[in-house]
C-alpha cells in the first residue's frame, strides 16, 4: 500500500518536472487498487504519457557505449587479477620449498606427449581424462598429428564407455536401494542376507531345486574338450601374421581368439584347437598373456605350439580356408584338418593368406557364400569367431543354410531359396 502511494506520488512529481509538451494524458483506471483509503489529491490512476519521455529511459548513445566498454574489457582485468593471485600463491609456495627453475629446454618424448594431451584437453578436443605411461609411449611413437588425434579419440571413447557403465551400475544400485527401502519386508530379507554374507556363509534359500554352480558347468565342458583333444577333429589357427598387422589389429585378433575358444568349449562336439606358428614372446603371445592371465593361459585346453602346421599334420589332410581361393568348399570333410589364418585386416591386404598356402603348396578352399547367399555389400573375409561358429554348425548339422546363419546379416540380403519363396509369395 505504502509502496504504491509513493510510486504514484513519484510519478506525479516527475510529470511536473518534465517539459509540458502538449499531449493527451491517458488515465488508466486500475480497478484492483482500493480507492477509499487514499486522499483525493492523489489519484488512483496512473498518468501514462505517451510522448513525454523520461530522461532515464531515453537511449543515450555515449553512456551506453561507455558502459559497455567498461563491461567488455572487464573479463581481461578479472583474468589478470586471478593470474596475479595465482602467481602470489606460487611465489609463496616457492619460498617455502626450493623449487627447481623450469628451464624450458628439450622435453623428453613422454613429457611432450603428456603436455600435448593436457593442452588438448583444455582446448576441448576429444582426449581421455587419465592416460597411462604405456599409452603415452605409443602416442609418442606416432608421427603424424592426425594419427595422434585418432588414437586419443579411441582412448577417450573407451574411457567414456567405462564411465557410462559405472554410472549406470551406480544408478541401478541406488534404485534398488530405494525400492528395498520402500518395501519393509524385502528390506528385512535383504538385511538378513547381508548379515549372512558378512558371516561368510550364504543364506540357503528354501527350495527343492539344487543350485547348479558354474563350477560344475566348467568341469563338464572341460571334460568334453579334453575328450575332443584326444579323439576329436583338429582345427588349426595359423598365427604367422605378426608382420602384417598393426597394434590395434593384433588386439582385435586376440579378442576374436578369446571368443573362438569360448564358443568351441561350449559346443556339443568341440574341435581340438591348435594355435600353430605361435612364436614365444612374439606379438601374439604377449597379447594373449595380457588378455588371459598367465595361469589361465596355461590351464587352457588348447594346443599352442611354435611348430608349423605342416610339421604336425600330413600334407594331404590340410586344407587352408581363405576367401581368395578359387575352390569352393562344398561339403564339410571330417577327415581333413582345416586351417584358418589368424589375421584381422582392417587395412585391406588381399591374397596374404593365399600366398601362405601357395608357398607351402597346400590345398585351399573358400566358404560357399555365393552359392547360398545373396551378397549385398561387405568383405567376404569373416571374423575368427564367425568362422568357428560356421564350422561347428556345419560339422554338427551338415547343412550350410544353418551354418551360414552366422554370417553378419548386414552383408547379405537373404538366402537364395528364401528369396525365391518371397518372390512367389509376392506374386500371389
Amino acid at each position: 500500500m505504502i509502496f504504491l502511494r509513493v510510486r504514484v506520488v513519484g510519478v506525479l512529481r516527475r510529470c511536473c518536472c518534465c517539459s509540458p509538451q502538449a499531449s493527451a494524458l491517458v488515465k488508466l483506471r486500475n480497478p484492483s487498487l482500493p480507492t477509499s483509503t487514499y486522499p483525493s489529491a492523489v489519484t488512483t490512476s496512473r498518468a501514462l504519457s505517451t510522448s513525454w519521455t523520461l530522461r532515464k529511459d531515453a537511449p543515450q548513445p555515449q553512456d551506453v557505449d561507455a558502459r559497455h566498454e567498461l563491461d567488455l574489457d572487464v573479463w581481461k582485468s578479472v583474468m589478470r587479477s586471478q593470474a596475479l593471485q595465482e602467481e602470489k600463491r606460487k611465489d609463496g609456495e616457492d619460498r617455502e620449498e626450493e623449487s627447481t627453475t623450469e628451464v624450458e629446454g628439450e622435453l623428453s618424448p613422454l613429457e611432450s606427449s603428456r603436455r600435448l594431451v593436457e593442452t588438448w584437453r583444455l582446448a576441448g578436443k576429444l582426449v581421455p581424462e587419465n592416460i597411462t605411461d604405456e599409452q603415452l609411449e605409443t602416442l609418442a611413437e606416432l608421427t603424424t598429428k592426425s594419427s595422434k588425434k585418432k588414437f586419443l579419440k579411441y582412448l577417450a571413447i573407451k574411457e567414456g564407455h567405462k564411465k557410462a557403465n559405472k554410472e549406470k551400475k551406480e544408478r541401478k544400485r541406488a534404485e534398488r536401494m530405494a525400492e528395498t527401502k520402500e518395501d519393509p519386508e524385502l528390506a528385512e530379507g535383504e538385511r538378513e542376507e547381508m548379515d549372512g554374507e558378512e558371516e561368510g556363509e550364504p543364506k540357503l534359500k528354501n527350495t527343492y531345486l539344487m543350485q547348479f554352480w558354474s563350477r560344475s558347468m566348467d568341469k563338464l565342458l572341460g571334460w568334453r574338450v579334453a575328450q575332443a583333444m584326444q579323439f576329436g577333429q583338429p582345427l588349426v589357427y595359423d598365427m604367422s601374421y605378426d608382420q602384417h598387422m598393426s597394434r590395434q589389429e593384433m588386439e582385435n585378433t586376440v579378442s576374436q581368439l578369446l571368443e573362438t575358444e569360448g564358443w568351441n568349449r561350449r559346443a556339443v562336439d568341440p574341435f581340438h584347437l591348435h594355435f600353430c606358428n605361435l612364436q614365444p614372446n612374439g606379438a601374439y603371445h604377449r597379447e594373449l598373456l595380457k588378455r588371459y592371465s598367465q595361469e589361465t593361459w596355461e590351464r587352457l585346453l588348447i594346443t599352442a605350439t611354435s611348430q608349423r602346421h605342416i610339421d604336425i599334420f600330413p600334407r594331404e589332410s590340410l586344407v587352408y580356408l581363405t576367401a581368395d581361393s578359387p575352390n569352393v568348399l562344398r561339403t564339410f570333410d571330417y577327415s581333413k584338418v582345416y586351417i584358418v589364418g589368424a589375421l584381422v585386416d582392417r587395412s585391406i591386404q588381399t591374397g596374404v593368406s593365399l600366398a601362405n598356402a601357395k608357398r607351402l603348396k597346400l590345398a585351399t578352399a573358400r566358404l560357399p557364400l555365393d552359392e547360398y547367399l545373396h551378397w549385398d555389400s561387405g568383405a567376404k573375409n569373416l571374423t575368427l569367431d564367425q568362422m568357428i561358429r560356421i564350422l561347428m554348425t556345419a560339422k554338427e548339422t551338415g547343412s550350410w543354410e544353418k551354418a551360414l546363419e552366422f554370417v553378419p546379416k548386414r552383408k547379405h540380403t537373404g538366402f537364395h531359396q528364401q528369396r525365391k519363396k518371397d518372390n512367389c509369395l509376392l506374386w500371389w
Binding site: H68, D71, L72, D73, V74, W75, K76, V78, M79, R80, Q82, A83, L84, E86, E104, E106, L107, S112, R115, L116, E118, T119, W120, L122, A123, G124, K125, K145, K148, D324, S325, P326, G351, V352, L354, A355, N356, K358, R359
Partner: protein
Amino acid sequence: MGSFAFVKYLRPLFGHQLPRRSVPAALRRKDHPNVQLYCTSKEKRRPEAQSRKSSQREEPAFPKSVFAAGTAKRTADFLKRRAGTGTDPEQAGGLSRDRASFRGEIPERPLSAPEWRKLKESSSSPERFEVRMMALMLAAEADVNIAKSLLAYVAMEKGEVPYMLLLRYLALCVSGGHHSEVLDTYDVMRSCFKALDSGAYSLLIKGFGQTERWREALVMLEEMKKVIMPSPRNYGDAIAGAFLHGDGETGWMLYGELLELRLTPNQDTWQCLFENASTEHQQRHRLADVLTYMRENQVYPEEPLARSIKAWFESLPDEKWRGRFSSVDSSGRCRGCRAELESIELTEEEYAQLRHRVMTHVIEGRDVFNKTTPEELESFKSFVKKSPAFDVIVDGLNVASVSPKGPKSQTLLAVVSELRDQGLNVLVLGRKHMLRPSWNWDRHDIHQIRQRSLCFFTENISEDDPFLLYAALHSGNHCNFVSRDLMRDHKACLPDGATRRLFFKWQRGHQLVVQGYVPGKKVRFQRALRCDTVIQSTGAAWHVPYDEDGAERSTYEVPQRWLCLTKEQQ
C-alpha cells in the same frame, strides 16, 4: 581421319619417314576447331574450358587423353548423369542454410549480463551454452563486441573464463583481423595458463604475423616444435609475416627450415616469396631453386602463383622476359614460342633404375607369392629372354573388356590384328581360363590370336599386370603397352616418390589406351604424349605447366595449360 592420327603416332616408332597423307580440308583444325581427330564415342563432350574461354585460346593438344587434367572428373560426372543421380544442388543449398541459421541464433548487439543469463536459461543445453555460442559467432563472423560481452558475462558469473572459450574468441579475432584484441588475449592467456595448445599457437602465429610484434611468431614456432611438428600452414603464416614487415632474410631462413623438415610448402607461401622478391642476383638464384624444387617434386602451380611468377620474371630490369599463357601441340612444341619441350623418354640410367625397382618392389615385393609364384616368374623370364624383342604388349583381359558388346575374344582379336597390320611384334598376356572355350572366349578367335602374336597365359589366381610391366620394361625403351588400367596400385608399391614419378613419366609416354571400340569399327588408340609435363628451362626460356582456376585435376593427371616465359635476345 583416324589413320592420320596413327601416322603421327607411328613415326617415332619407326624412325623413317612415312608418306604424308593429305589431310582433307574439312579436318584442318584452324577452320573447324570443333572437329576432333579422334573417333567419336558416346561420352563425347567438349571440355568446359574451351566452351568457357574465348575463341583466341588454342585447343589443348590431348583433350581425350586419360592423363589430361579433368578427364576423370568429366567421366565421373557423365556416368553420374547417366545413372540419374544429381546431388550437387541440394548440397549447395544446405550450406547456405546453415550460415543463415547461425546468424539467427546470435544476438544482434552486445548484451549485458542479465540478458545473457536469460538467453542461457532459455537455450537447449545450458552447460555448453557459452562455448556453443562462441563457436556460432566464429562460424558466422559476428561482431567482436558481441563476443566481448559474452566473455564479460562469463567473467562476472564464474570469476574466470575457460580456455576453450578464449581459444574460440582468439580464432574470431584472428579471422576478423582485430590485432589489438589478439595481443590482449595473448597476454591474458599467457599469464593465466602455463602452456598453450597447438591450435592456439597456430592462431597466434597467424595473428602476430600481421602485427608489429611478428618476431614473437618465431618464438611461438619454436615452442610448438617441442610438442608437435608445425604444419606448412604455420610456416607459411610466419613467412608471410616476415615479408610483410620487410625482413626478407628471416623469411628465406624459415623457408629453408621448412624444406629441411621435408614439408611441402603451400601455394601461397611460394606466391609470397615471388611477390616480395627483389631482382638482385642472389634472389634470382633462390627463386630458381624454388622452381627446381617444384620440378623435382612434380608440383604444379595454380593460376595465382603462375601469375606471380610471370609478373616477377617480367619485372627483371636487365633481362627482358616475356610471359604468355599457352599450350603444347601434338608434336611437343610450345605454341607460344615454337620451342621443343623436353621429351618424355627416360634416359638410360633412369630406365635401368626403373626396371630394377619394378622388379624388386612391384613384382616380387615383400612376398613373391602375393602376386604370382617363383616358378611362374622364372618361366616367364626365360620366355621373354628367348623371344625376339616386342614392340607392343597387350593386356589381354583388360583390352577384351573394352567393348560391352560381343564376345571378348572378338575385341581382342580386332586389337591384335590392328597392331599386327602395322607390322609390330605383339605379346598378349592373359590367364589360363581364356583357353577354355566358352561364349566369351571363342576357340577360333583364340587360335587366330595365337597365330598373329606370341601369347603367355598365367595361372588364374596370379596377377597379370606385373608380367605386363616386366615384359614392357625388358623389351627396351621403344616398347609400348596397351591397357586401360592406370596401374595405380602397382605404382603405390614402389618405395619412394622419385621412383613413382619416374614410373608415371614412363607410363604417360608408353601406355596406349583403346578409344571407344565397337565391333565393326576400326580400332583407335589415344595418342601418347611426346613431351614431359614438368617445369623445365633452357637458358633463355622457362616453361611452367599450371592448373587453371577451377580445374579439378586428379593426382594421376597432368595439366594442359602452360606458362611460357621467353627471354628476348638483345
